[in-house]
């Protein structure tokens, strides 16, 4: 049913529809509304779950690890500093093959402390063994949560899933969302029934010491599983489309790329702005397009390569920066494409700096002018040392 909802409400609703038995999280802006809504659902008797109000994000992630290990579907969500505090457990959860689902409300990292949006938090944990998907809008986020559980919990997969939603822009934005019914979600998402769990009838030891004779195989197994996810995820996407009529669950989305001369590559809510700019520039006769990365991990290298095969100029928009190198997505797009392609990297929107249509237009034109691996967009020169000014 179509509803006009705040993003966080919609995400909490989506999580509720998946019937998690244990929820644990710790408040941090801009994630807070999600946990508050879930707590209210439980308080109202609308959701049969244990909500554990922990003393830190490290413990939130540990609680859901413990509950998921008992075979109970679990949910957590966090942002920024919270994700950093969880980081140790985030890696651990993937290594233990626990298909927990987390929503990360993307926010900048301190210092300086900043509650506004960029994607530095989740991008910094891209190597942790979690499937990572980025939502462009609230509908997509809802769909990715529901499909995320299904993908992660496949016995062939058994990997955790992080659904990344831009803080404030999505979490606090009001949009119309087509919310599936409980019946539909129950038909789509079967109860969680893991191949291994903590069970007194069949005692197992989980989380053993893995020395040099076994460790690398555990990493290889995750790596190969990630490769499988590149096929499994679009299959679940097809099922999702059949059931709900939407194409949200996919590796990439191509927007007016067919004949594009310049294409931007981006993740998350900025793709909406980029699409608007594309429509306007197209009216003026410019051949521009967008490659939206929905699934960042596993990285859909082949799909990216194919989508950009005929595009001569590419600009990569990064809402993160690997300080001392370039934006993270830039490196990966560059590695996925042929050497003769002109690929530029743009770092923008850090710490909530607005990404305006004008900035996007300028990025389109800069991508065609000269190749630069790491251009910061829309800097305030008056805040910079003289020799740093642009």
């Amino acid at each position: 049913m179509k509803q006009f909802l705040e993003g966080s409400w919609a995400f909490a609703d989506a999580a509720k529809l998946c019937r998690p038995g244990v929820i644990s999280a710790y408040p941090i802006t801009p994630q807070t509304h999600i946990v508050e809504h879930l707590a209210q659902f439980v308080a109202n008797g609308e959701l049969n779950a244990q909500t554990i109000n922990v003393e830190s994000e490290h413990s939130a992630a540990s609680v859901v690890l413990g509950s998921q290990a008992c075979g109970v579907r679990s949910f957590t969500c966090t942002s920024s500093q919270g994700l950093m505090l969880m980081a140790e457990v985030v890696f651990n959860i993937a290594g233990m093959r626990m298909p927990i689902l987390m929503i990360c409300a993307n926010r900048a990292l301190s210092a300086p402390i900043n509650i506004w949006n960029d994607q530095q938090d989740s991008v910094s944990l891209r190597d942790s063994g979690w499937i990572q998907m980025y939502a462009e809008n609230n509908q997509e986020a809802v769909d990715l949560v529901i499909a995320g559980y299904k993908i992660g919990e496949k016995p062939r997969v058994m990997l955790p899933v992080m659904v990344c939603v831009d803080g404030f822009i999505l979490t606090h934005g009001m949009e119309v969302v087509d919310m599936p019914t409980q019946e539909e979600v129950d038909q789509f998402l079967p109860p969680y029934n893991p191949p291994y769990k903590l069970d007194v009838e069949k005692p197992l030891s989980l989380g053993l010491l893995g020395g040099p004779d076994v460790y690398i195989e555990t990493r290889y197994a995750i790596q190969k599983t990630m490769e499988d996810v590149l096929t499994i995820l679009p299959e679940v996407g097809d099922e999702f489309k059949k059931k709900f009529g939407r194409e949200s669950v996919r590796l990439i989305e191509e927007y007016r790329l067919d004949d594009a001369e310049v294409a931007l590559v981006a993740m998350g809510s900025v793709c909406g702005t980029i699409k608007d700019v594309i429509d306007e520039l197209r009216q003026k006769g410019q051949k521009v397009g967008l490659l939206k990365i929905v699934t960042y991990r596993p990285f859909p290298e082949a799909a990216v390569n194919k989508a950009l095969a005929k595009v001569p100029y590419v600009g990569v928009v990064d809402k993160n920066i690997s300080l001392g190198a370039t934006g993270a997505l830039y490196t990966e797009i560059k590695a996925a494409c042929s050497h003769d392609k002109k690929i530029s990297g743009f770092v923008m929107g850090l710490g909530g700096r607005d990404i305006t249509k004008n900035s996007i237009e300028s990025v389109f034109s800069q991508s065609k002018e000269k190749v630069n691996s790491c251009t910061f967009v829309d800097l305030h020169n008056d805040l910079l040392w003289e020799e740093f000014r642009v």
Binding site: G21, S24, Q50, I52, S59, V64, G66, V200, L204, L208
Partner: protein
């Protein structure tokens, strides 16, 4: 002996790689056997985890999970929440366990959260008085004047300058139903306390003193003797708290001099010829005796 047969008798079996005379392995077996099969165990990183579960082997006959160093209490909270959700908490017990470092230092926050939230979990701290797994570094539970690799004796040092953190008081201060200390030197007492704890619903805490021959510089054969002496000198008092109140202590009508305990351990050997330092250690014991009323007539 069939592998299964082995697990039929005990929930924590031999064949693991603990050092000879390891007090922690003995205490872990005492705890596991009292708890029995219908128990789920969460374990912090540390010696116990390392020597009992070197993949692909395990010494555990109950479901057992290790995640990280400081989160055993939080993982246990999740296990307990899952058991409530599944409607199984009536028949299954949850035990969370870790070393002194994993409990009193890096894991204290998660433990406090677990106690405060009131989970139905027994937390067991195996106190061997240092970070043994990483090679005998000082922890918040290392005793006064003990030599460790990060509180070494030297011309300007007589070992660890601080006294043990009052861990059982910290736990009791959460006003949980039960908080106690025990010693592997008195196995029956350990088992009585574990059984008592497991019969209570809500958060429980037991700190078990477990000598470590390698870390303490003692003979493996002396583990039990040393554990008993720690109690007999007043250096490791055996106490029980209920809802924040001290209710019972193991009395010491005639406490032994601390030298008897210290002289069996290399970590204290620098004290034996140092009357001034010896006196300070004796004062630590004396303070314990007075604080807990160990020598008063009941």
């Amino acid at each position: 002996m069939s592998e299964r047969g082995h697990f039929e008798e005990h929930c924590f079996v031999s064949g693991h790689t603990a050092c000879a005379g390891c007090g922690q392995s003995m205490a872990a077996r005492l705890v596991a056997d009292v708890a029995g099969k219908n128990t789920i165990v969460t374990n912090a990183t540390g010696c116990l985890e390392v020597f009992s579960t070197l993949a692909p082997q395990t010494a555990w006959g109950t479901p057992w999970i290790h995640s990280l160093f400081e989160n055993a209490a939080a993982v246990a909270s999740g296990v307990e929440a899952a058991l409530i959700h599944l409607g199984k908490l009536d028949s299954i017990r949850v035990i969370s366990q870790g070393g002194d470092g994993g409990t009193a230092d890096i894991g204290l926050q998660a433990l406090s959260g677990m106690l405060e939230r009131g989970h139905d979990i027994l937390y067991v701290c195996y106190d061997n008085e240092a970070y043994m797994n990483t090679g005998i570094q000082r922890s918040g539970l290392t005793p006064f004047d003990a030599h460790t690799t990060t509180s070494p004796r030297g011309t300007h040092s007589s070992g660890n300058p601080k006294q043990k953190k009052p861990l059982v008081e910290i736990c009791a201060a959460h006003h949980i139903p039960y908080a106690a200390t025990a010693s592997v030197g008195n196995p029956r007492d350990v088992q009585t306390k574990v059984k008592k704890a497991l019969d209570i619903r809500g958060p429980k805490f037991i700190q078990i003193h477990v000598p470590c021959p390698l870390g303490w510089g003692s003979e493996p054969v002396d583990t039990i003797k040393i554990a008993k002496l720690a109690v007999a000198t007043g250096l490791f008092p055996l106490v029980e708290y209920e809802y924040g109140r001290l209710l019972r202590v193991t009395k010491l009508p005639s406490p032994k001099p601390v030298e008897e305990y210290l002289k069996l351990q290399g970590r204290f050997k620098h004290l034996l010829k140092n009357a001034a330092e010896l006196k300070k250690v004796q004062e630590v014991a004396q303070k314990n005796i007075e604080y807990y009323g160990l020598n008063s007539k009941a």
